[in-house]
């Protein structure tokens, strides 16, 4: 009898693995699937317009181009090239993401023709004065977080998994994030960021999704609202281009000097 029920139990677990999963395992499985679906695009490039708005409604904008190169078994290589404001035109930032290890980062200052190393422990600092922190815009790697599945929930008519993400890299400004992940696209619809005291700090909303190469979903609009200081930043991502034939040599300290 005892043996029978054990066999039954094992068979049941094999047939319905979900039953045996903890919420942590399920959260990880969902994000691993998101990661799997987004792998293999090799490289991409897009134009970005960031609009910063303060609590008084004053607005300033930044325009930049982002180039990304996928790296097998490591984080992506990424280059951001600024076109505005005019005083930072031509400034370029090169980042090698490394999962839980600190990233490598360089900044090129065109007026001095100088490349400087940047300390990457500054994860929680604001990116170009916006409500996006460096850790919000750096490339997402599966290893950077622990996960926990919370529930299923509909958001604006889209079925989503709701998953908690706990940063495991050092120097994060967050205790956790709550992410609404679209079940069809396996892409985020919304992320809430909780500060070091555990209070809600910011809400990031993703919209205007488009599919590229019949596979990869990219949001055209990211809206970051800081609920604590009333400031917000809108990030528009346009003109996605894939298969650019980028190589490692386009993502070096020296390559920074010739980008425009």
């Amino acid at each position: 009898m005892k043996l029978k029920s054990l066999i039954c139990g094992v068979l049941l677990m094999a047939a319905f693995p979900a039953l045996a999963q903890t919420d942590e395992e399920k959260g990880y499985a969902i994000q691993a699937e998101a990661n799997r679906r987004d792998n293999g695009y090799i490289d991409s490039m897009h134009d970005a317009v960031m609009t910063l708005k303060n609590a008084q409604g004053e607005v300033s904008t930044r325009e930049f181009v982002v180039k990304t190169l996928e790296v097998a078994d490591d984080g992506d290589k990424e280059m951001g090239i600024f076109h505005s404001p005019a005083d930072v035109k031509g400034t370029a930032v090169l980042t090698f993401s490394h999962g839980t290890k600190p990233d490598d980062q360089w900044i090129y200052l065109p007026s001095l023709k100088r490349v400087k190393r940047v300390a990457t422990v500054n994860k929680s600092g604001p990116f170009v004065g916006s409500e996006f922190a460096f850790e919000d815009i750096s490339s997402w790697e599966l290893d950077k977080y622990r996960y926990r599945y919370l529930r299923d929930e509909e958001i604006d008519g889209n079925d989503c998994f709701v998953v908690e993400n706990y940063p495991v890299y050092e120097y994060s400004g967050y205790t956790k994030q709550i992410e609404w992940l679209d079940k069809k696209m396996y892409q985020p619809r919304k992320i809430e960021f909780y500060d070091r005291k555990g209070a809600l700090l910011k809400t990031l909303t993703f919209s205007d999704y488009n599919q590229y190469l019949d596979r990869y979903w990219r949001a055209g609009k990211l809206q970051m609202d800081n609920v604590q200081n009333g400031k917000s930043t809108e990030l528009l991502r346009k003109n996605y281009r894939f298969k650019n034939n980028f190589s490692d040599r386009d993502f070096t300290e020296n390559a920074l000097k010739n980008v425009r």
């Binding site: 910063l52 035109k89 023709k113 400087k116 190393r117 940047v118 600092g125 390559a255 010739n258």
Partner: protein, 412 residues
Amino acid sequence: MIAKVARYILFSLWTVALATFAQAADFSGKAAVDTRFFTEPPIFAQQKDGVAYPSVMIQPEFRHDWGSGNNRLTVIPFARYDSLDKHRTHWDVREFSWLHMQKNWDLLVGVGKVFWGTTESRQLVDIINQSDLIEKFSGEEKLGQPMMNLNLPTDYGHFSLFYLPYFRERTFPSSNGRFLFDPPVRNSEGKLDGFSHWQPSFAGRWSKTFGDWDVGVAHFWGVGREPRLVPSFGQGFTHPPTGLVPIYDLIHQTSIDVQGVLGNWIWKAEAITRSGQGDRFAAAVVGFEYTKYGVFGGSKDVGFLLEYLYDGRSSFAPPTPFNNDIFSGIRVVFNDPQNTEFLFTNTVDLNTHATILGFNASRRLGEKWKIELESRFFANISATKNPFAPPKEILTGMRNDDYIQLRVVRHF
């Protein structure tokens, strides 16, 4: 007649080129109004002793890419009008170059600008371009340099090779300006020691990233950018020297520059060894920048800078104030939408206690404007004791040149 036709054809070509260029080119640049306020009267009788001296500058930038981005024409002229110093009223071609880019190499031909180095307090290894010393007396501003520069990115590092066919002399203030040496430099009497301005120079640099560290090793062979300053006795040897004459020499200089990141610490080092100006000598700058993030109520960063400067050159070599100095600084970055920054610096000579205090601040106004404050204060700088010998302290002539400069920049 033929000359007339030729001129007409040339003119037409030029117009067409300009028109095409204006259509496709990327046009940007900046213009600025600076005003320098001097807090003390100058040392020499012939120097203008006003307090406020305005100055205007413009630096447009044209870039044009063609051939699916494999070719680029860059044109960056520069001009300044200065109310204090007639030498500082000057123009230059900062860049005028054709860059051809391929997957495994790129070549730049024309007038270019190249920077080597990592440290904050001194640009020791940076040698390709000549300093435009009247633009900024620290020597950080550079004149355009004619060059052919071949770059080869390889798996063994990045190789950069230079052929520099023409030598440009350093700019110096005029005798009624500020930041003079004691006695002042007589630039019109500058000499090249046994060669012409067409004396070629050659240089090569290898650089590579090793994890958290970037390393560059370079060698330069040709006309040293720093001149010796030799006293000239215009009124005979029984009178004190009337000026310093810049004399340029052929040198060999080997250098290394390193920067590395360890958590909040950025470590920086530069070192050179040079022959051709007296005995072979070595010089080095070693230091760090430690940054504390998210202070003063959240988003501001504070960086602490510390560097040690050593220079073992003899009195036969070009003079430097940085023989045995400590540089320290504090940088405050506000991380606000206007990108507000402050930088306080202090350079002290450990032997003479000669001190240069610095303060810089900048803030963007709207999308196109920027306001910048720059000031330097000189302290503990000894006056000349023996009028026949050049002063031991190279900054002697500048000891009363404390200034505050307010600059309003319009980017376009």
